[in-house]
Subunit: 199 residues, 4 copies
DNA sequence: GATGAATGAGCGTTCATTCAT
DNA sequence: GATGAATGAACGCTCATTCAT
């Protein structure tokens, strides 16, 4: 039996290599060396280079989904859930630089066509955000005028841009918590200064 | 003197080709053919393939900056300026699919190192957002607690994610105006249902 | 002791696979799968891929020799023997497409050097033709001017070309019997119209 | 313009390399080196390795056809024409060992499918033999009972087997002329000893 | 003996870049 | 300046062979 251990080793190696060099600059032999495996071995576990990228992506996103769902269960209010999601995403991205890079790469490089062949784990992840929004709208705490799909785009877009900046190295001295708080704060109350009670 | 006409033709062709196939899948000969120029001619105007990408990027972003600055001049209030920026960005991305793709590509594929060699026109563009926020904070209309840098990330991230979705083809039936309104609305007032006056 | 059963199974599988895909396009794993044996097992019975080809060849030609010798025993006249040989060869080639292909392949692809390492069963087979000719010459029924070696080349070459055409699919609607008759007829009396008795 | 000179050089080199090592054992880099050309250059003139083989084949057979047609024009009687064809073929094969090998290889290795994509120059060559036979039959000098297609197979098969033997190195001390005479003789009068006039 | 996962050398092909014209 | 034929390094992938189990 093809060892699941080796499968994991290759995935891990690929994540690292893709993150470091980008998909196109990554060489199969780089991944093989990183995984301490022969080049050919990789092809026992994956169909081709692209398949590795997709697998890495699906796998990592899968983990992300599992984790965040567990955390979300514990929360009641949509506001809290949104906060938790944001928190978790940023923390993971900070912790796992590789994953963050791979998300960037995959999101921009995978052609639409190829992505359609696979049921999209990533969309599942995005869907979680939309659900939180919808629950909030149903509960009457989030504004109805903002479409959940748009809200989802704004939220994920923000998270993604933030982690992009981290990796580009734009010095941003905020801690993850501060970052997370600022995001949540903006999403919840907007940018505008709150009108005073009297007005 | 190397004709500026040819330079422009190549840039335009490259924009198209990079957008259609992505940087790594684009071949120099594709660009040459699109520009109706010999392969070798391209090397009279650019150092190498990557140089073309950067040039395309700088050039297009440069245009974006010029245009939006012109529009912003006409507005007084930071809120209006923010609205104008969002509007303009989305409209351009919708109009110029190529540019949108090239931004995605460049943003995710250009290694940090290379980018440092050039003064970053793109950062200038992002700076405009931050300035609007800061002006709003100075004027007392935008909350001080949200750091301008973070606000900028949220805003650009949202815009970028939205145009990403357009190109992935996620059917999103909003018009640019609606989209733009929803964004502005969220940024200004947040997600939360406004407290009723009496409460 | 390595089971002769498995040896046979592999040979049979290899014959099929070589015939279907050609030697170079055949993969060891194809043969292994066809023989319902592990890839590695093949190397318990054969030294390498080429060794399999040679073995297949020798084995099959060996069978051919046995069979035809048995049939030839029953005939007296060299003419009848020649007829029997031609008949038998064509019938076998028609029956056993795989063998026919393998003969073609082996005959054209095996380098001279390698073939010398083995005593050549195939030459034995060709030798049978030459012997028939020589017997006929000794008996005074076949012309002395035609060297037995040349006659052998003509006869085998014809047979081989005919089976090549069968496999290329050149529609040739003759039955094996007709084919065999035409060949024998030409070899015996030539192409020329027989001079009339009076002349 | 891609120089026709280089095209020729590559064809010539490929003929040599294919002949020496066989199609599958020949490396593109072998051909490139032999042609004193860069590996990549070959792909300016040919689509792929197989395309080279086909081109070599078509080209060489084309030459063969031209030459032999020229010679045949000068002859009147079908017997003479047959003799000329046989002579010419054997002489060319003896002279141009590479071509002989390439014919063998192509004939046995090219899959049926691929050959159909091209109009078959080789069939044209074979057709010449059949025509000679048919002319002879029409003229009443060749026997009607032998189908021209079969006769063609016998004749070409013989020629091919003879040149095969030359290259395998089976010592055959006949000169081309003797060989040619023996062949013609057999085809014309068969193997059988001519009945004496009295009988 | 049998297995089949692992190996890694090897090759066809691509394509950015150069340079003679 | 412009051309595009020529270059050759580089890489994804295959598959015969090995060897630990």
């Amino acid at each position: 039996m093809k060892s699941p251990d080796k499968h994991r080793k290759i995935i891990r190696a690929a994540t690292k290599v893709f993150a470091k060099k980008g998909f196109f600059n990554a060489r199969i032999s780089d991944i093989a060396k990183e995984a301490k495996v022969a080049d050919g071995t990789i092809y026992l576990y994956f169909n081709n280079k692209f398949d590795i990228l997709l697998s890495v992506f699906e796998q990592e996103i899968g983990k992300l989904i599992e984790q965040v769902l567990l955390l979300l269960e514990k929360e009641e209010s949509p506001q809290a859930k949104l906060q938790v999601f944001i928190n978790h995403h940023l923390e993971e991205m900070k912790k796992n630089k590789y994953l963050a890079e791979v998300i960037h790469i995959e999101l921009r490089q995978t052609s639409k066509l190829i992505r359609e062949y696979r049921k999209n784990t990533f969309n599942e992840y995005l869907g979680i955000i939309a659900q939180i929004i919808e629950q909030g709208q149903a509960a009457g705490v989030f504004r109805q005028e903002i479409h959940s799909h748009v809200a989802r785009q704004i939220i994920f877009g923000s998270l993604d841009e933030i982690s992009r900046c981290w990796h580009v190295g734009s010095d941003c001295s905020f801690t993850t918590e501060e970052m997370s708080w600022q995001l949540t704060s903006l999403f919840q109350s907007g940018l505008l200064v709150a009108p005073t009670a009297s007005s």
